[in-house]
Structure formats: C-alpha cells, structure tokens
Symmetry: C2
Subunit: 361 residues, 2 copies
C-alpha cells in the first residue's frame, strides 16, 4: 500500500483500510465524537488531492456537470442534517452465536454512530443537472477500489430517485462542524439517512442517473439471502437487496456478562427505526422475556437518528437474561429470534436485544 | 333508523350499518368483487343526496373551496389506482384466542379487500386550494355520525400532508369501474393506499388542512395500546396511533381444521406490506415452524396491493400446524407470536399466520 496513482485527472494515495467499532460508552452520546465514529471500508482508503478532485454528474440528465469543491460550495445552499449511519452487518455477532458466518466481521451493536453532517442537498445538485423522466435510480461511485469485489472495482451503490431527491440526502464535506476526515470519505461523501451505511458512498467521484439500479458488486452483495443460499454462488434477485434500515435496538449498559448486586438496576440502550419511521416504544425485560416494562424513551430528534432509552429493572440473584425490543411508529415490532433472521451474510439482525448478567445477593 | 335529516344543506337518510368479511374464496382474486368487498362502519350508513352534496376544503389553505361532484369531475384530471384496503382489526380473532378482547369484532383474515379506485388525486385538489406552509396534516370528516365515539360525532381521520400530497391518495367516486356503492362511501370517499382502512374516510364532506392531527375520536381510537392499558381510560399519546399497515400475511387454503389426505398439499394465501413497501419473500412451514420452504410469490402490481403466494407442502399423517411469514422489501419479517403483539383493542395483528389441519394416511 501507499502508492500514488492517477485515476482520471485525480491524484490518489492509498492508505490501509480499517474496520472499527466504537467502545460501548461512545454509543451513549447522542452525537458520536469523530475519533470513535465507526469505520467500515472495503478497500484501501484513498487519500485524494482536493485541488484536482472533481465530482461528475452524468447519465440521464439534461446538463451533465463537473464540479470542483469550490463550485459545489458556491453554487448550492449549505444544509445540515443530524443522522445515524448503521452498517447492515451491525449485531452480526449475535447471529454468529446461533450459527457461524465465516469470512464476515463479527460486529457487536456498535457498527453504528451519529453525526451532524453538512454539505449540499443531493436534490439541489440533481435539479441543476436536470433529471430526465426515465431516471429512476441514482448511482454513486467512490474512489476506493475493492479487492473484495468480483471483479475488483470501485465501491458503489444506488438508491431510488425518490429517496435521492428527498431533502435529507446530502453530499457532505463536514462532520460535527469539522472537515470530513479522510477515513470517513473526504473530500465528499454521500449521506443517505435511514438507509444502510453501504449506500452512503465515501470518496465520491461520480453520480449517475439511470433507469435501473447500479450493477456495482456491492449493490446486491448487501442482500439478505435465504438461509440455504451459498453466498459465493448467488445471482441478482436471489436475496432482498437492502435499503432502509430495519427496526433495531441494543442494550448498552450493563455490559454482557456483568456481575451486579441484585435489586434495582439501570438498563440503557438505543433504538433506531430506518427510513422515515421513528421508534414509538421500547419494552425491557429482566427475566428473559416473561415480563416487560416500558422504557423511558427519548423523543426523536428527527426521523434519521437513533433514540436512547433507559429503564430500572429489579433483578433477582443469579444469572438473568435482559431483553429489549422496539416498536416503530407504524406499530411494527422486532422479531424475537436470531433463528428467524439468520442469513448467510449476517445482515439486518433486527432480533430482540439480549444480554446475560449475574447478580449476587 | 331511516329518518331523513338535514346536515348543513345536505340531505341525508340513514340506513343500518354493517360489518362484513368476505368469504375466504373472495380473497383469492386479485380484485375483490363489489358484493364481497369487506365492510366496516362505525354508525348508520348515510344515504346522501348527490345533487345537494358539496365537498368543503378549508383550514390552512389560501383559497377555501366548495365543490359539487360535477365541479370535482370537470376541474381535475381523473386518476385510477389499484389498492388494497385493510382494517386495523384484521386477524383480531387470532389475538382473541391468546387473550379475550371484549367488545371488538372477531375478524378473521378477511377484513381486507382490493379494488380499482377512480377519482381525482387529493394532491390536485389541495394544490388548487393552496396548502399553507404550516399545514402539516390533512383532516377528513365523513357524514356518518357514530354513537361509538365519545362524545358521539361524525367519523373522521387525518394523515400527514406528505402522504396526502402523494400521487396514490385519491378522492374516489368509482370502484371497479362502477359507481361507488353507498356502503363504500358514495358519493365520495378518501382512499389512502398502504394505510389502515380507518384513514380512508367514507361519505366525505370536508377536508381541513391543519397544523396538528385531527382530534376526532377515531384518530387515536385506532392506536396500539400497551397490553396493561385500560382502553376505556386512555389519553392521546398513550398508544401508537396507527397509520401505515404493518407487514402481514394470511393462509387462505386449506381451511382451518381441514381434513386432508397426507402427502403433497397446495397452500395458498396473500401477503401485504403497508406504506410504500412491497413483500419480498414468503416462507411456509408444514411442521409448526421447524422447517420452511419459500412460496412462489406474485410480483407486486404496485406498492399498494396485496400479493398472492402459493407453495406445495408434503404433509405427514396426523394433526399439523401450517405457518406462513412474510418479509418486506427492507428485509423486515413479521414477529412470531400473538403474545408479543396482543394489545387491548386487538389492532395490527401481524404475527405469523397459523392454521391447523389433520391429514389421514
């Protein structure tokens, strides 16, 4: 690694990729500090020369664009959105305990973080380019080339035009009022609130309006396959290609395996409903799901962010399973068991959150 | 019943209400015939004199409107949408088997039907009236006065302006290419595809743009309350007020309690994902959920209609539980058990479909 390369007119220097989960404490903050924001990358991180960087907008548009960062910042109004990003593989470790998933990251509940993103509305840029009537999907291509892909190719994704033209979707150059870090996609990344992190393409180079979803490897790679499928021998259409995040919650305190005094115990966590839904209720159990109480749940800051919750359970002496489940604003509830949602690539584990603790008298 | 009355300038004659579920066979058709389309009413059905009827559009609009049927039909383009309507109480009977729900209709899986609706786009009418910026909700008031309400009042509902201005929401005067029957809301009803039937207000008289949801009794009456709540002593905010339909499926063939020969057995049903989601996969089990096969699932006609499915299971001799569960286009799956979703008014039962049959060798 570490070679300088030219891609088109753009100079790129690659650094090692990293995949990192925040420490559990970092998830307790409404806004995640930059140095603990989760990382998930599929290839070496490109270090891009901002002066030579250009964003191309092409495909089914009336006026193809090529924009420098300066043009992007001058020609469009700046917009800020607080949004949670979450990897589709979040909480895969809980699926792995049910049945192994070789070759995938064993994420705990922390492949998720929240930032305050600033940039321009993708809708404004697409309006300037003039979307044609047949442009049903908007594809994004990054500068990071992944050897995980078959064949190796830049990371990419697409989202339907209806989502792409919604006001919450940004092309972001800042995160928590600081310049976007290289690890998170500098100079520019897409932020698709409420959708799996893989659609928020980093190191963005190109936006293409097209009639069909992208054929980029990572578009269908992020699919929930039927349990019996061989993930190395799948065709597009074999699985459910992921877009909006599925309803989800996690217990952040106490820790898994904690030794606690019996009696009143504070339990806290977050819940997140994807797309434009919010979390309406969280139930918490201190006896493996036999009885439940309602957690005190934060009101949603907006539909795009997680909501923290807390409850006080009175725990008996001995080993106890804590369980949490969330309900969204349509009254949908999470499914009970990892056995139901297990899938060969370990995506979208939205089964009830479970955690074991031992209480001494 | 049967008195003639004047409400404003409008002459109304009330006939008996009815609540009716289609026979199971009627649910096998993609479009439900008018004479078997489900009925759910909360008061006497008003027989409205179409000549004197007017639609009022008021509240936070620049230009309040008062439209006769002739004006509505002449001033706006006609639009047709195929959409499934479903009562929030569908499949309540399965919840009642788990724990009784006094005073509510024991609906089977048939409080749902699909029609081809024709009328004008609500968005067009609202655009003509000129929605003001603070108009976040659109409220509907019917001509049917319900004694079930506290205090007695006309049936009403509201939906957020974002949904109300979506192209699929209609003010409909025709159903399956025939004049809208009195029982289904003539002369004009709202059709809110993907949302619980209670928001598709019949015998529509008035549309009001407002900053908050309606305070009509039936708006919060259609809520999922916590299991321990007393449904007679609730305040707004105690439950999850229902809007989009929750993901749902039903087994239509064989019948509950059927006596069948052991061996290959055709199983068929429908599934429906609310809001703008579609059904992506249906799993069917012939052994109570131990093993599953994937059903052959119809592609969605549009996001607003049910999708039929079929599978062939090889059933052993003896009593067997058939189970079906659906996955939506975001990879969300139905929850397993009525115990999880039971609520005091029996709404939104989206637990797995279950049915017992006995096979002879």
């Amino acid at each position: 690694m570490g070679t300088w390369d030219k891609r088109g007119d753009m100079v790129v220097h690659e650094v090692e990729p990293y995949n990192a989960e925040p420490p559990p404490g970092a998830l307790l903050d409404q806004i995640t500090p930059l140095d603990t924001f989760y990382g998930r990358n599929h290839g070496p991180i490109p270090r891009i020369d901002a002066a030579s960087w250009r964003l191309r907008v092409d495909g089914l548009v009336d006026r193809p664009l090529e924009l420098s960062m300066d043009e992007l910042q001058r020609r469009f109004p700046e917009r800020t959105v607080v949004a949670t990003l979450q990897c589709a593989g979040n909480r895969r470790a809980d699926l792995m305990r049910f049945r192994d998933i070789p070759g995938q990251e064993p994420w705990g509940p922390g492949a998720t973080s929240t930032a305050c993103w600033s940039g321009v509305g993708l809708a404004n840029v697409l309006a300037e380019a003039g979307l044609q009537a047949q442009a049903a999907h908007i594809a994004f291509t990054g500068a990071d080339v992944s050897q995980e892909a078959y064949p190796p190719q830049p990371f990419g994704a697409s989202i339907p035009a209806a989502k792409a033209t919604s006001s919450e979707v940004l092309l972001a150059w800042a995160m928590n009022d600081q310049a976007l870090p290289i690890a998170h996609g500098a100079p520019l990344r897409v932020v698709v609130p409420g959708w799996i992190g893989a659609r928020s393409v980093k190191w963005l180079q190109r936006i293409t309006a097209q009639a069909e979803p992208t054929d980029n490897y990572f578009q269908t790679a992020y699919s929930v396959l039927p349990p019996e499928a061989d993930p190395h021998k799948t065709e597009p259409g074999d699985g459910i290609t992921l877009g909006p995040i599925t309803l989800h919650c996690a217990i952040l305190r106490p820790d898994e395996g904690a030794q606690l005094p019996a009696g009143p115990t504070d339990v806290t966590g977050f819940a997140f409903a994807g797309d434009d839904r919010t979390v309406a209720r969280v139930d918490v159990s201190g006896d493996g799901g036999s009885t439940w109480i309602h957690a005190d749940l934060d009101a949603p800051e907006n539909p795009w962010t997680w909501q923290h919750w807390r409850a006080t359970l009175t725990l008996p002496a001995g080993e106890t399973e804590l369980v949490a489940r969330a309900w969204d604003s349509t009254a949908a509830v999470q499914p009970e068991s990892p056995a139901t949602v297990w899938n060969p690539k370990g995506y979208a584990n939205n089964s009830w959150a479970r955690l074991n603790v031992t209480c001494h008298p």
